[in-house]
Amino acid sequence: MAMAPDPDAALMLRVKQGDTGAFAVLVDKYKQPILNLAGRMLRDATEAEDLAQAVFVQVFKSAGRYEVSAKFSTWLFTIARNLCLNEIRRRSRHPVDSMDTPHPEQEDQPLHQFEDKQTASPPERLLHGELEQKIEQALAGLPENQRLAILLCRQDELSYEEIARVLGCTLSATKSLIHRGRETLKQQLKPYLQTGDWHESN
């Protein structure tokens, strides 16, 4: 069965020819899904914005090498996945000092001093209510590959085969990642699921 032509691939081929208008169309279409993915993988709104921007810059820089071998969205989310995982691994190699770490010379002063602002922490800006907070926390507690698989599963543009391509694993391994991640979420959110707070009758 022939694959339906991908309109985004056609736009990307125009970007390859230097059409920045076509590039802006692609950015407008995918900025929300990419930012959603980055936001829930990195758990920091500012870093997520920077990373989402870096994803699109990388897309533009790679336009010259773009070939229509797969859907544009598969290629785009593969770039996003690589940058997210790179950032997560960079953080694990260079952990941030605790805010309570004392100054080496002035023990009564913290090492890092920050202006006291009455603003919500970045993850909480994204949340509405306790229920959303619980699922955000549960998602954040998943291993990165399960979290990524579940988040990609929510993208309308990607089939399971395309998700497997983004993750770089087989179809069965992809479904297994999603299944295991969901089982963990169901266990952690059991009280909320049982009360029917999120129940939607079919």
Binding site: T20, F23, A24, V27, D28, K31, Q32, L35, N36, A38, G39, R40, A45, A48, E49, A52, Q53, F56, V57, F60, K61, R125, L126, L127, H128, L131, E132, I135, E136, I150, C153, R154, D156, Y160, K175, I178, R182, L185, K186, L189, K190, Y192, L193, G196, D197, W198, H199, E200, S201, N202
Partner: protein, 166 residues
């Protein structure tokens, strides 16, 4: 947890999208026949709703403009990079490697030549030794060798043969 293929297929479809009317009817029929799976399905459906209800991460209103500006900066930085000409390319990247390779090759070739020279010298010395030996008699002197040997059972050297050879 059931491994029924019909249930698994419908469950996996529900992970990504709302089930169609036909799929929902199929699921209801299946659950009626497998009431033990009802609790699991309710948990799946609840989680689907919860994940689907997650709010979008807020996007700055000027996000696209910022991306385009970042792309322009990248393009400008690329243009500002000094053009790579052949001479600087050679000097910076390849000349040290070529020099090292040439040195290794010269040392290797020189070593081979020295070894060959020493070998030739030894060969020459050997030839010089051999050249002092008078020419050897032809093989016809050995035509009676078997008879002579048979007639002389001792292992002592054959004086006559030695004298001929000398």
């Amino acid at each position: 947890m059931t491994n029924d293929p019909i249930y698994n297929e419908l469950r996996e479809a529900s992970w990504q999208r709302k089930l169609t009317n036909a799929e929902e009817a199929q699921l209801r029929t299946w659950l009626a026949a497998h009431p033990e799976a009802k609790a699991d399905w309710e948990a799946e459906a609840g989680l689907n709703t919860a994940l689907g209800g997650l709010p979008n991460v807020p996007i700055p209103s000027n996000f696209t403009a910022r991306v385009l500006q970042a792309v322009e900066r990248e393009a400008a930085a690329e243009q500002r990079r000094p053009p790579s000409n052949w001479a600087s390319w050679l000097r910076v990247r390849w000349l040290p490697r070529v020099a090292l390779t040439a040195t290794v090759v010269c040392v290797g070739v020189g070593s081979c030549l020295l070894m060959q020279d020493a070998h030739n010298k030894r060969l020459g010395e050997g030839v010089a030794v051999v050249s002092t030996v008078p020419s050897l008699p032809g093989p016809e002197i050995l035509k009676d060798f078997d008879a002579i040997r048979a007639s002389n059972p001792t292992s002592a050297a054959d004086e006559q043969l030695l004298a001929v050879l000398q």
